[in-house]
Symmetry: C2
Subunit: 246 residues, 2 copies
């Protein structure tokens, strides 16, 4: 395989994949071969491929699911994102083949995407440079390669920003969920507690939820009602956003 032939030079995509599980926000990370470091899933962009499609491809390969909520959030274009010593170690550890050395020594810019996925649907799969692919809580991120910590930080900012604008939950929660689960998701993303009753009233006022006739039984306490998102109204709010300041 000739990277120079196949891929757009000096360009990669990186996907910060968010999932919600055990009341925690997690990201899907790759454990690099022969290294203690981890990485955000990424890949190169084919010469005849939309950049967005490259991100979709990476996402599908790592999670084994399709039709994922995916948004570009930033281009990381600093000239010193990588350096030779980093590539030296990759070659030395046989993570990359020596004849691909010059490809990896290019200066790379990378397009950051963030994805929202339903945790339980994902089957994590490592790529050829990694030995494991795992969910890692945002509160416990290990040592990451290059500027990948910054990429995650920016992705979280973008996600929080998105939360201010419109609804989020549909992509992170299962089809049916309780109001507390939805609220916990919001609290986790925002990093602050929200009043249980006021949250419910406000969320219902958006008109994007359908209250189901079912309750979640088996819990230790009173069985809470289940809700689902009203596709049509949810999508409207996604586009138009909630109320503006002006």
């Amino acid at each position: 395989m000739d990277y120079f032939e196949l891929y757009h030079p000096g360009l990669s995509v990186d996907c910060v994949i968010f999932g919600f599980h055990d009341n925690e926000l997690k990201v899907l990370l790759l454990k690099m071969k022969n290294s203690k470091q981890w990485a955000v899933p990424g890949g190169f962009v084919k010469k005849q491929e939309d950049v967005d499609d490259a991100a979709i491809r990476v996402l599908k390969e790592r999670t084994n699911i399709e039709d994922i909520y995916l948004r570009q959030f930033h281009l990381f274009g600093q000239k010193n994102r990588s350096d030779d010593s980093y590539v030296d170690s990759l070659v030395q550890d046989h993570v990359i083949r020596e004849d691909m050395d010059s490809w990896f020594r290019q200066r790379f810019i990378t397009v950051g995407y963030f994805a929202l996925v339903e945790f339980s649907k994902v089957t994590p799969s490592p790529d050829q440079n990694s030995e494991r692919c795992e969910w890692v809580p945002l509160t416990n991120i290990p040592d990451l390669i290059l500027d990948h910590q910054e990429i995650i930080n920016e992705a979280l900012k973008a996600l929080r920003n998105k939360l201010r604008f419109g609804p989020v939950g549909k992509n992170l929660l299962p089809p049916k969920f309780t109001m507390t689960e939805l609220r916990t998701l919001y609290e986790t993303i925002l990093g602050e507690e929200l009043d249980r009753r006021n949250f419910q009233r406000k969320m219902l006022s958006f008109g994007i939820l359908d209250k189901l006739d079912e309750t979640r039984k088996g819990g230790a306490h009173k069985a809470p009602f289940l809700y689902s998102f009203n596709e049509e109204k949810y999508n409207q709010k996604l586009i138009k956003g909630f109320d503006t300041i002006w």
Copy 2:
């Protein structure tokens, strides 16, 4: 000059430069040589140059001012952004030299930036591919090359989004301005009218304005007070934003 030597392959930046004049929002555009089409100011990224710095460089060259408010807003990465027929016409019209043909026939991705500038400070300067550099009202955009119309559309969306989050005016208005000028700016960006009195109350409540002891005389009517932005408080709000929904 050898483009392949100097520049990062397949990568450009485009800057949508917003200015406010005559109660209109305008963008700085380039009239292409030997063509009826216009373009958003742009350029290539040097191999050892931050992408942000490339945008700053372009901006400085076109406007002849420095320290401009500039933000990256989107990477345009579709595989069919350009096509051969476009480059054919450029070569035919001698806009680009024939020996640079292969550089321009690459597939390019471009990073979109938007800039906010004080209209009166700008001295528009065309680049080597254009014959004129002019302010054009957003309501009257001429035929543009490639996907530049889409780039402007997205830039405007980004600007509106920014307006929801925090203050904007400081970069678009002169140091001293009337409340009506500020309101008109907001109305222009948002594309809707705002109540004069409620706008004033709300804007003052943010605490980012200093009311000056001067008035703007010479107008046809009662002389309005002048305001200026309080640097410190303005910058705070820029970072923290106005009130959130949650």
